[in-house]
Subunit: 461 residues, 2 copies
């Protein structure tokens, strides 16, 4: 603990210098989606590899068909675990540029009326500021103790904002090198300014486009209406039966593999005090539409969904055309939780549709994606140590939360490297990532560094 | 009857001359939808007014803001009924011109391998050939008897193929002049080559666009899925409940005013021998999708429908976007029969939707059109006389059929002039109206003239 105390003190002492280093990184406009900035992505990768080498990592810029990866290794004590830290150095474009109050690649410290300070620049929160919290923690450990409490691999991507086309090939080609005991992913938010969060569940996703066809051409509804099958009716009837009156999905077998969140975790979610009014009010809603008897956090974090994301058929222009269309289609997606099997869900949905298909209709399915949920075991030792470390740092204890959406890299770590991920981040909901005037709170940056120091110490123990 | 026999003989004797007159009319390219042909429409009107005046009508070309009308009057015997004959002199465009085997405005007589002859030209069947059958019947009556058996008004429109914008104002402005005891409308088909038909029922039409709205913006289905109301689900659920398993519409009150077709008429429909396989097979279907226990002819002629003509919501482009849209809409139309009230049907549908609207949703309705059905009373004396006259002329007795679609002018005659219409025409299903190589059978033209002579004689008796 003497070691950790001196590391924490070192971090505080060097805060201004760490802000300077982050600012140097933020000045590099590493916009991955725009080919005009390819050289800047390269420069950001080289900057980071150089900085990590200066700390004492074996660091290299690793070329890919797209933007390069940065991979850096550092040994740890005998018997200590091996952790892999993931972040990304690429950033979103800056449009609409006219809405920025300061130039996006000239980082500024803004002091707010409540005394808080923030670093304003594109990438400050997503993800340069976040990844530097970890780098700074490592730097301070090296400075104060000459080593790191764990064996550490740092893996930084440059294509996260443009679909990560090189990620899977790179993971496959470097499986052994990148496989660690656990991954630390710093691309998520805190629950609120006082409360750190660990995302322990990420919902999976299965997409299916379903096309219903009937007559061999569009028909006049005067001549054929009443006798000819209307594929829009078939589609609406089937999709209308996909949920019962209590909001549950009616597809047989849909809930196979759906686990329950432990009572104490549910209690901690309740303690977060998020009202339905607050969650839904911001988008103009007030009543949870999902499974009855579940809170909105359960509905979005730990319960599966069947959602029609798009539907189309017949005449949809101005005015009317009294047509019975030859076909209609819908795009349906399923958010999966716990151990739901994407392939089984896809098959069950197809059977559900086929079982309801009337005479004279055919159906086509076009699959789109398919990834299972990520669920960190609630009794994982990594989780418990991380939670305790975070709770030591922040005013309120850390909470284990779910995430309704997906972070693809976490799924790839799991499926390709067999590696669980601890998702810990210090972003806040108002950081305006992907928007003008992106910012990262100075408290996030400072206490984020201290949090990683505590976590590394805890995991190494 | 002696009079009628001589009129029929006169028609047969002068067939070639009548073909010549029709050909003169067919040579005028009176395409109403293309402003470049406005002078040709005027010329066709003048040709017809001149021809009717030559027969002995008081005929005039009547200007409108669009193409002119032709109105011609001829007295009848004391106590004889007053009939109004409706037709239209304008024609469809000729595209694709390269598919015509002879120039569309140079009428030709083609002799087929079975010995039948046809007049090939744009407008031969729709509607110049048909309207001239009536004119020739009048000409022969005048030539043989010096008069007509009924008081006759001939009313010819020049905008039928371009939405009839001047029709309603003209009817309103000339109500008294155009009101007769019954209208004769010659713009329909025979049942088959041997069997003449009288269309006694035309379904009405009510359109409603329904828009369901929920959140104040499109939502990410990862963050909000399971908690936020999805307007596509609301729409599909409601529309999915609009029909029961037997194909009946479930909207309360929907069947109010729906009458039943008399047993003997149903029997005559059955005798037509139209198989479901034949009716549906041509469009790739085989099983009637409407109300169970009804034939396809009942389903399309005498039963009402609720049909979704278009639906759209969320992401409908390529690939996937996991969105919960802010809104979704559908275009729904209702085909009405007998005494169903368009306003009540519209209101009942709106209530049906509103009753099913869950929390957090709003609904908007945009009305489109609204016309009741036309149903000639099955015991109408006009109907019985016309039917007998047609049955005398053709190899098989005339049948009373329904029509699934609408002929707007018939509705306007009914609602604005209080006038029933007898729809009698001699077109055939393969006449290729609106298509290249439009034709009118010589038998249609000759026996059509003879049919009108018989009908006029019968109605005047």
């Amino acid at each position: 603990m003497a070691d950790l105390d001196s590391v924490l003190a070192c971090l505080d002492l060097n805060l201004d210098r760490s802000v300077g280093r982050l600012s140097d990184l933020l000045r590099i406009p590493s916009i991955s989606t725009d080919p005009a900035y390819a050289a800047e992505c390269q420069r950001a990768a080289e900057y980071l590899a150089g900085d990590l080498a200066a700390i004492g990592f074996q660091a290299a810029v690793r070329e890919t068909p797209g933007h390069p990866m940065v991979v850096a290794h550092h040994d740890g004590p005998e018997g200590a675990p091996h952790v892999l830290f993931y972040g990304h150095y690429d950033v979103q474009p800056v449009d609409p540029i006219e809405e920025w109050t300061s130039p996006p690649f000239e980082p500024e410290i803004h002091e707010m009326s409540d005394g808080s300070r923030r670093i304003v620049a594109r990438g400050s929160a997503d993800d340069k500021g976040q990844l530097m919290t970890f780098v700074e923690a490592c730097r301070a450990f090296k400075a104060e103790t000459g080593g790191l409490p764990c064996k550490v691999t740092i893996f930084l991507e440059g294509e996260e904002e443009s679909g990560s086309p090189s990620l899977v090939p790179f993971l496959e080609a470097n499986k052994a090198e990148l496989s660690a005991d656990v991954a630390l992913v710093c691309d998520t938010n805190m629950w609120d300014r006082q409360t750190p969060a660990i995302s322990t569940g990420l919902r999976g996703l299965v997409g299916e486009e379903v096309v219903i066809k009937a007559a061999n051409r569009d028909l006049h509804s005067g001549y054929y209406g009443g006798a000819a099958r209307n594929p829009i009716h078939v589609l609406t009837t089937i999709l209308g039966e996909m949920h019962d009156a209590d909001g549950r999905v009616t597809i047989p077998g849909f809930y196979d593999g759906v686990g329950e969140v432990p009572e104490e975790v549910l209690k901690s979610w309740e303690d977060l005090g998020l009202s339905e009014a607050e969650f839904l009010g911001s988008v103009g809603l007030k009543t949870p539409a999902g499974e009855k008897g579940r809170t909105v956090l359960e509905q979005t974090w730990s319960r599966p969904t069947a959602e029609v994301n798009g539907i189309s058929g017949g005449y949809t222009g101005k005015g009317f055309k009294t047509v019975i269309p030859a076909e209609a289609f819908a795009k349906v997606s399923f958010r999966l939780v716990f151990d739901q099997d994407p392939d089984k869900i896809r098959a069950a949905f197809r059977k559900f549709v086929e079982d309801r298909l009337p005479d004279d209709c055919t159906v086509e399915f076009h699959p789109h994606g398919g990834s299972g949920a990520i669920q960190l075991p609630f009794d994982s030792p990594w989780l418990e140590k991380t939670r305790a470390a975070l709770s030591d740092e922040w005013p309120k204890p850390a909470v284990m939360i779910g995430m309704g959406g997906s972070i693809p890299v976490v799924g790839e770590f799991k499926s390709r490297l067999g590696m669980e991920s601890l998702l810990v981040g210090f972003g806040l909901g108002d950081d305006a990532i992907h928007s003008p005037n992106e910012k990262y709170e100075m408290t996030s940056f400072q206490k984020g560094q201290r949090s990683w120091a505590r976590i590394l110490a805890a995991l190494g123990r």
